[in-house]
Each structure stands twice: as structure tokens, then as C-alpha cells.
Symmetry: D2
Subunit: 116 residues, 4 copies
């Protein structure tokens, strides 16, 4: 690492962190969905939202891993879905999942702003 | 089918068509990527774009299949990636793949407009 | 098609059919899982099995699309999961889904036998 | 952790480790595939194997996360694909990826043995 990181290396380091955040919320959302199902959830909505969020987080992580030139729009979609999912998690008391989703939403929003 | 379909059934029928279009371009993009690889492609860019497009088409189809309340942002991302991928396919002479991507881009744009 | 297809072209034609069968059960299983959830299912088990089956069918189809040299073990896993899922679908009266899973199980078993 | 873990908690702890190993090789394989592509690889085979391995590792991790009753066959398929992929990575000097794949192969083999 140089002492004065270039814009490019800053982006690359932020992206590496965001890949990790998205892979974490991908996993936490899937596990939370299954745990709700196992408990005998009465509503389909949170499970659906968690499956949605889990999948878009994985897809977004893969776009960044592939260094995709078109990751910006997927990053924005991921930020929106994660924000919604965090709200749903708050309502049903799934605090860890809400935090994971908010972390992903935040890093995706920040990355989306950096796209020229 | 009623003679005067409601807005809801119109959306639902358009969505069913779009799921099919996205699943088709998901498959065609993956097969085209592997065919380029097999031929010993000289550039990574078209393969990457085809893998990107294949994945976002699947994710978008899954959001629609799950009847997700947040599919709009994924649909827009899918439209953008498919449009780029169609252009890349045109340049390398992959006409069938270009057509599949354009069909998906079009249905996603139309669906995204219908979201209230 | 030649009148006396070679072993290779027979495999390739069976594989193309199996890719289609697996993509169909991938879609039908996901849609059936969401429909159960929407109805307010009382047990997690069928939804879990349907999500399992949907995912392994997609993975198996992708292995075949990539012309993978190691698709045999995934094909066997897919056959087993599809067979279980078909039984679960029978029990809960999801006849179309049971049929789709059985078609995939059958083509995967046949393909797995052809591997030298 | 109790001093005398039950068979069930041992399985559960081994499974949690294996989920992590599989998610790691899922990521490393995808990144290695893209890096080979970027360098202008001359052969399609390693890229294909890395994409195969990346996908089956994710699918296997998801089966374990869902606590699937049929994860055994997917676990065996994952072990086989990871073993092949590790050999391919050795040949092309991708040591980190080879190690990640071998770790996943090992944990999958161990888990598959524990299934009653």
C-alpha cells in the first residue's frame, strides 16, 4: 500500500470491503429466512424479502469480483433491496440481519457514488 | 383470459413473458460465454459481460418468480446490463445472443415503467 | 440429424433435453415454494426441499451448459434431490411440480449412466 | 461449548466450518477464473473448472445453511469437483486456490461420512 493511495486503489479497497459485506448479508439473510421458516412463520413477506436480499447480495458481490464494467446499476439495486430488508428485519426483531443488510446498503451506496 | 384484462392481469401476463425472456437470455449468455472460451477468445471483456448478463437475468427472473415487492430496481439493473451485453454481442457477431439480450432489456424496461 | 447418430451426438442430444428439464424444474420448484409460503404453509420441510431442488437443478443445468468434465457427480446429486422432492410434492398434492422433478431425476440418472 | 459435545453438536460445528470453507473456495475460484481470463488464458479448461467449482461450492454451502435433509449427495459432488479443481490449480500454479479447494474437498468428505 502506498502512503497516498490513488483514486483507483481507494476504489479497489472499498470494493473489497463491500464484496465481504455483501457476502456476509447474503449468508445471514439466507440463514434468517430458514430460521423463520423453521419457527413456522405466519407471513410469507419477510421470508420472501430475505430470499430476495440474499440473492441480490450474492449477485452484486459476483459483479464486483468479476470487476464488471456495469456493476453500478446492480450496486444501486442491491442498496435498495438491502435497505428494505433491513427495515423488515427491524420489524421482526432480527437485529443481526438488519445490521448486516444496513452495512451492505451503505457500502453499495458509497460505491455507486464513486462511479464516474 | 377476460376480454378486458385488468391492469393487474396485464402486469402479470407481461411479467410471465419477461420471466421467460430473462431465463432464455440467462441460458444463451452462459452458453455463448463458454463457446467464446472454447474458441480461445483473445479478450476477457466479452466473456465477463456475458457472465454478468447471464447472472443478472437469472436473478431478475427469480425476483419476478418470487413476486418480489422490490423487483423494480433489479429489473432496471437487468435492462441496463442486457443493453450493454447486446452491444458487445453485436460487435463480436453473436447475433442470437444479441437478440436474446435485447428482448430481455425491452421487457425489463417496459415492466419497470409499470411500477407505481 | 443423421440416421445413425454417433454415441457423442446421442449424448449431446440427451444432454440438451436434460438441460431443458432441469431448467423447468428449477423454475417450477421456486414458484411452488413461493406459492406454499404465500398460502401460509405450516411446515418448513416442503419449502426447504423445493428451494434445495430448485438450486441443484440450476447448478446441474449450468454444469451441462458449460460442458463440464465433472458434471457426473452433480448429475447424480441432482437425480437424488429431484427424486426426494418429487415424493414431497406428491404428499402435498403438487402434481405438476412432482412431474417436473421426476422428469429431471430420470434424465439425470440416464445421463449419469452414460459417463464412461 | 460443552466438554463432551454430543454427536449432533459436533456435526453442527463441523458443518459451520465447512460452510465457511465452501464460501471461501466459491469466492477464490471465481476470482481466479476472472484473473486467468484477464491475463488472456490460452485454454478454456481451467476457467471452466474454476467456474464449475465456484458454483458447486456455493450450492453446497446453501444446502448446509438451509439445513437440508438431502445435503449428502451435494456434499459428495462438491468434494469431487473441488478435488479435480485443486489438481488443475496446482498445474497452473494457482496455489492459494488449490489450497482453498482442498480444504473444501476435505471438509465435504468428512461431512459425507458422518451422514447416517
Amino acid at each position: 500500500m502506498s502512503q497516498h493511495p490513488s483514486a483507483e486503489s481507494l476504489l479497489s479497497s472499498q470494493m473489497a470491503d463491500c464484496i465481504q459485506d455483501c457476502l456476509t448479508s447474503h449468508a445471514v439473510c439466507l440463514e434468517t429466512a430458514m430460521s423463520l421458516l423453521q419457527k413456522g412463520t405466519t407471513s410469507a413477506d419477510p421470508v420472501r424479502m430475505l430470499l430476495d436480499c440474499s440473492e441480490v447480495c450474492a449477485t452484486n458481490a459476483h459483479f464486483m469480483m468479476r470487476n464488471s464494467p456495469v456493476y453500478g446499476s446492480v450496486c444501486q439495486a442491491c442498496a435498495q433491496v438491502c435497505t428494505h430488508c433491513a427495515e423488515v428485519c427491524d420489524k421482526i426483531g432480527e437485529k443481526d440481519c438488519a445490521n448486516a443488510c444496513r452495512a451492505s446498503a451503505r457500502c453499495c451506496e458509497q460505491l455507486a457514488k464513486l462511479i464516474p
